[in-house]
Symmetry: C2
């Protein structure tokens, strides 16, 4: 980790921070740090890979971006709906299109399971991946 970014220290707004955020804002789909970095560089922007990672992490910490892991362990990011509410994702594994879905059902189920086995402090990871209507049509 890299010092405390969300502690008392005040944050600065920088060109690079804006770049990362804007780039992420461009699409609906989840993108990896490497991808965002390449895209920015391809546009001729001057920015470092570390910086991209840092800003993505900051966005996640601030609750402004969502993150999830691919099966091969790569982290993907995307700007989060203003929804501070807890939610899950239904991701198209072909085009990356993502639907935010609400999971009251799962939440309840998770709680039940936890209680049933005497667990507490239970977090849950729930992601759905499939093929969206458009990709099927194609």
């Amino acid at each position: 980790m890299d010092a405390v970014r969300n502690g008392k220290k005040r944050l600065r707004s920088t060109r690079q921070g804006g770049l990362v955020r804007d780039q992420l804002a461009l699409g609906e789909a989840f993108r990896s740090a490497q991808t965002v970095f390449s895209e920015l560089r391809a546009q001729g922007e001057v920015i470092g890979l570390s910086t991209v990672y840092r800003h993505l992490q900051s966005l996640v910490d601030a609750g402004e971006a969502d993150t999830l892991q691919t099966v091969d362990g790569e982290a993907l990011y995307r700007l989060c709906g203003q929804t501070a509410r807890h939610h899950h994702h239904l991701v198209c594994r072909q085009c990356g299109r993502t639907e935010e879905i609400e999971g009251r059902g799962v939440e309840r189920w998770a709680e039940q399971m936890a209680a049933l086995h005497g667990f507490t402090d239970v977090d849950h990871t729930v992601e759905l991946m499939g093929r969206c209507a458009e990709c099927i049509a194609r």
Copy 2:
């Protein structure tokens, strides 16, 4: 990947294959490939890291082991209940104890969500992590 291990080729039973399997059979908790490797080496067994990875992967392919990813992208393995049935896990993040849980509820929910958004071929990742009763008592 490393050639096709579950194709037509017949499999051989080897000392190393047994070692990996036995080691995994020792505990209830999920363990990483690196851990299994270290444990075996610590016991004085002669085995290579590549081999451990290969056998763990084979076990997963054969449906004899379960695998899941930690938040930092490390793959964990454990022998699977004979249950060929689809199931999920409730893992204690402190001691690693794991309960296999059945998720008819989630399955249904996942299907509903998929249908609702026009997705098909939907896979789901559902893992619960918390603290088990014993760890809380301590």
